[in-house]
């Protein structure tokens, strides 16, 4: 039924060429026997990557569907191609020293004096102030932790923009949201970088291995206070979330199991000099513990063994992957079946994902457009789709944050709830506004090479009022924009996106099918050119879906 509706609408938009495009989707029964087709390839790529470009879809549509899935999973590379920030080798004492020095200087500035070691009256080495703007702060005056967080986010966003294996990024993001850690609590950016590297290393690897490594991961040991867990006074934070959020899920263990697990992990700590994992035998509880029916002098490794032996662990993980890739509606039978695949493969992830992407529920044309894009997917996907060069990623990161997803800073240990929770009255407004800005950025560049882009003061929420001390605000203040765009209708202003190489030369019907998983709700004007079509399609509610 859905297909018929879509064909009807598309035929009106696109004519006969489009009917030919849409036909394979209708005829593809049984699904397995058919090639992926344009819509099938688009669905696979949009669910497993970031909004695919027409040429990416073209590269997959002629493949048999199984071959297309194989191509996604085969030969994946665990290393990022983007060079990491310079400070990732910093030790905890060095990071503490940098933070201490920053606070000292800030205190000195607040007291009206000059920072220790600086030339009186001037910031040595700072660029000359721009006329009419407040002077720029030299980099060493920035809060090192905040600055590192910014660089870390920019690094990951850069990698997501340039990667040729978006599924690895999506899986790294999935693991970040499963085994959550946040920089604000961890307070040591190199550990957050290394945790991200761990997620990449096992992105499509083995869940059991990843679980064992995350239990010793320095960022995790800081985030959930594992490093403070001693026999004399156990800290239950990690133990509780291990059971509730990482393996079994709520309701499949008792409070006594949490206490036992906390005792078993006691003594798993961090070396204060290197920041690496270290076991402290003296702080480890060697007494007998009973955990989920097993009794003995259990240590952390034993706890993980017990958890990995429980079918529930695979079911819980598969349930989360199902929600990530297939549907917001759980399907108990399918989840149990796929959990069996995962256990049968000794927790290797690729056989599971292969089976999941081949599942009827995934391939069913009626499921297309059934998920809501996360803010990261929306921003990265749009920039990739339009082929925009974005030398400075900070604004993309802040756009993601404004829409409710700040990478390396999940809202709490449960991560981003996702699904329909992505869309609230506030975040939906943000999404529309950010998309407007992105389209506008592509369309007015030639006419505007002057300064631009400051929110009028009245538009700033009270919590975000410009503060001269904040780097990002300073950056905005350096680039004032006389032309506020809030509330302006793109179409009303006659805007059309200027299409880069990724979209140029593509006809409107193909653009429509490439950009949206379902027909647009606001029909395109009959005479819309490709640029206007793209601008309109990006603002259609259906663009929020994948």
């Amino acid at each position: 039924m859905t297909v018929t509706t879509r064909l009807g609408r598309r035929a009106m938009l696109g004519g006969t060429a489009l009917i030919a495009f849409a036909a394979p989707a209708i005829l593809s029964t049984p699904l397995r026997a058919a090639g992926a087709g344009f819509d099938g390839a688009r669905h696979l790529l949009s669910r497993t990557g970031f909004g695919p470009t027409p040429s990416e879809i073209a590269a997959f549509e002629a493949l048999e569907y199984d071959a297309a899935v194989d191509r996604l999973l085969r030969n994946w590379k665990p290393e990022a191609v983007t060079p990491p920030p310079s400070w990732i080798g910093m030790s905890p004492p060095q990071a503490r020293e940098a933070q201490r020095s920053f606070q000292e200087k800030r205190a000195a500035r607040a007291a009206g004096g000059n920072p220790p070691g600086s030339a009186p009256g001037a910031d040595a080495g700072a660029p000359p102030p721009r006329p009419g703007n407040i002077p720029a702060k030299p980099l060493e005056n920035a809060n090192p932790l905040q600055e590192q967080g910014r660089e870390l986010r920019n690094w990951w966003i850069e990698e997501m923009l340039v990667t040729d294996q978006p599924l690895v990024e999506r899986m790294a993001l999935f693991w970040h949201n499963h085994f959550t850690s946040g920089l604000q609590k961890v307070r040591f950016a190199p550990a957050m970088y290394r945790q991200n590297a761990l997620f990449r290393r096992h992105a499509l690897g083995n869940f059991a291995t990843l679980l064992r490594e995350i239990a010793r991961d320095p960022a995790m040991l800081r985030y959930l206070d594992g490093a403070q867990n001693r026999a004399s006074q156990p800290n239950e934070n990690f133990a509780r979330e291990l059971l509730e959020l990482f393996t079994l899920g709520e309701g499949h263990y008792s409070e006594a199991d949490i206490k036992a697990a906390a005792r078993a992990f006691s003594g798993w700590g961090l070396d204060p000099q290197t920041g690496a994992f270290r076991f402290y035998p003296g702080a480890h509880d060697t007494g007998a513990k009973t955990f989920l029916g097993r009794t003995g002098d259990l240590d952390g490794g034993d706890i993980l063994d017990v958890l990995l032996a429980r079918p529930r662990t695979a079911e819980f993980l598969v349930g989360k992957l199902w929600r990530e890739f297939v549907s917001l509606k759980p399907h108990d039978g399918e989840i149990k079946r796929l959990a069996g695949v995962l256990r049968g493969a000794n927790y290797e992830l690729r056989p599971l994902l292969k089976a999941m992407f081949a599942a009827e529920a995934f391939r069913d044309p009626a499921s297309r457009g059934g998920l809501i894009k996360s803010p990261v997917e929306l921003v990265v996907g749009t920039v990739r789709l339009l082929g925009l060069p974005v030398p400075e990623k900070t604004r993309l990161a802040r756009a993601m944050q404004a829409m409710g997803q700040n990478p390396f800073e999940p809202p709490n240990v449960k991560g981003w709830p996702g699904g329909e929770a992505w869309i609230t009255t506030n975040t939906l407004l943000m999404r529309q506004q950010i998309l407007r800005r992105i389209v506008e950025a592509t369309s007015v560049a030639a006419a505007d090479d002057g300064p631009g882009g400051m929110t009028p003061p009245g538009m700033m929420p009270p919590g975000m009022a410009p503060k001269p001390g904040r780097r990002a605000d300073r950056r905005e203040q350096m680039e004032p924009d006389p032309r506020p765009v809030e509330g302006r209708s793109l179409r009303g202003a006659g805007m059309s996106a200027r299409l880069g190489p990724s979209l140029s030369g593509v006809d409107v019907p193909t653009l429509t099918r490439a950009l949206l998983p379902l027909p647009p709700l606001s029909p395109l004007p009959a005479d819309a050119g490709p640029g206007e079509a793209v601008a309109t399609l990006l603002l259609d509610p259906v663009y929020q879906l994948k």
Binding site: N229, G369, Q401, T427, L429, Q432, Q433
Partner: protein
């Protein structure tokens, strides 16, 4: 070429998550929709203040005279001279000093030992239990405010029932309650206007798309009334200073002083999950809370709104009596709630849980929070709701 100012200013909008749908899986809705009592009060507003992470009640309302307190709390015990005595048994931790005006004016009620049977120590589950007024064994999808107003016809000119200036909208989620989530009024109004588009037929088969269209429609409708009211509204008498709670309370005050007709406003202060190094963090948070609520009181009195507003704090649980080795505390059970307002009957209510009679190292609650919510529904809004409590009790904190 991309302009260098791409997305400039977007950063100005704070992060909002939430919305109810995340909780919507596998949940039953309450089966009974109790009839409304004869005359619901639509002129009264509840300001909910969530203390996120589990506030340590023992170091908020300190049972300083209990000989068991100091030995149990060890290094985390609040020193006697840091306790603001309320009676011969309990007192407030010193950073809450700004609340003493309210206490002396008898418009601050402190409900002692609030919790629920079979306490759950998961943040997410426990706040869900509170926000949906459910029993620990029961999973509900609708927030307690939505349940309270289920089947109650609101005045015809109302477009918004509640404003959530925070990320967790669950108490006001569900039913036919119109809730908007926002961080900044001007931006909300401007953006919602830009969202006005026509020709969008609601599809029936795709829940994700249906959700987006529903939020669009709500946003647009809400913006119409809000824009009108906020225009030329009086400004607050006293500034809130800096910090996330201060900013939220400032917006809440604007909404209240503008007399935007709503039933509830929600704000939140996070950071109470003090597993390590608790003292400094907790005192800083209590200071923010005390200053924020005292300023709110001042501004609402000055604006003539104090008798129409009731402020209520809540948190998912208190903390374990015995500290852990990290100078922090793990998840516990009951803790006190603060209730303030011109119509509030000040003083201590209920009994402080005994430190000599713990359950698994945790305090036993003496007040069921569902009786607190039931009291708010009945005495504040004139709605008879028991929230599933078998023998509901109406408490005496509302005059």
């Amino acid at each position: 070429m991309l302009r260098r100012d791409l997305l400039a200013g977007l950063s100005g909008f704070a992060v909002v998550m939430g919305g109810g749908a995340a909780w919507a899986q596998n949940r039953q809705t309450p089966t009974s929709a109790p009839a409304a009592s004869s005359s619901p009060r639509f002129d009264r507003i509840l300001v909910l203040v969530e203390l996120r992470g589990g506030n340590d009640g023992l170091n908020t309302l300190v049972p300083y005279a209990d000989p068991a307190y100091r030995p149990a709390r060890q290094g985390l015990a609040v020193a006697r001279e840091r306790v603001l005595q309320l009676d011969e048994r309990v007192g407030l931790n010193a950073p809450l000093e700004p609340l003493m005006d309210s206490w002396k004016a008898r418009d601050l009620a402190i409900l002692q030992g609030v919790g629920y049977p079979y306490p759950n120590r998961s943040h997410f589950r426990s706040i869900e239990i509170w926000d949906t007024a459910s029993a620990a064994s029961q999973t509900l999808s609708e927030g307690w405010l939505a349940q309270a107003f289920a089947g109650v016809t609101r005045p015809a000119d109302r477009r918004i029932d509640s404003v959530v200036i925070d990320t967790n909208a669950l108490p006001a989620t569900g039913g036919d309650l119109h809730t908007i989530v926002m961080q900044d009024a001007e931006n909300f109004i401007n953006q919602a206007k830009a969202m006005r588009e026509t020709g969008m037929r609601p599809p029936t088969t795709n829940p994700a798309l249906a959700h987006i269209l529903k939020v669009r429609a709500e946003t647009h409708a809400a913006s119409l009334g809000l824009a009108e009211r906020m225009k030329g509204a009086p400004s607050q008498a006293k500034p809130y200073g800096e910090g996330p709670l201060a900013n939220q309370l400032e917006l809440a005050t604007r909404i209240l002083l503008a007399r935007v007709p709503v039933l509830a406003v929600k704000v939140a202060l996070g950071g109470f999950d003090t597993h390590a190094g608790q003292r400094e963090t907790h005192e800083r948070l209590l200071g923010q809370l005390g200053r924020g609520l005292a300023t709110l009181r001042h501004n609402l009195i000055a604006g003539g709104r104090w008798n129409d507003v009731m402020v209520m704090t809540y948190t998912e649980f208190g903390r374990r009596v015995k500290p852990n080795a990290s100078g922090g505390t793990d998840h516990g059970t009951s803790s006190p709630q603060f209730v303030m307002g011109g119509a509030v009957k000040g003083g201590l209510h209920g009994a402080y849980p005994s430190l000599a009679d713990l359950q698994d190292g945790d305090l036993k609650h003496t007040i069921d929070f569902r009786n607190v919510f039931g009291t708010v529904a009945k005495r504040w809004w004139g709605l008879n709701r028991d929230f599933g409590v078998r023998q509901p009790q109406t408490l005496s904190f509302i005059a």
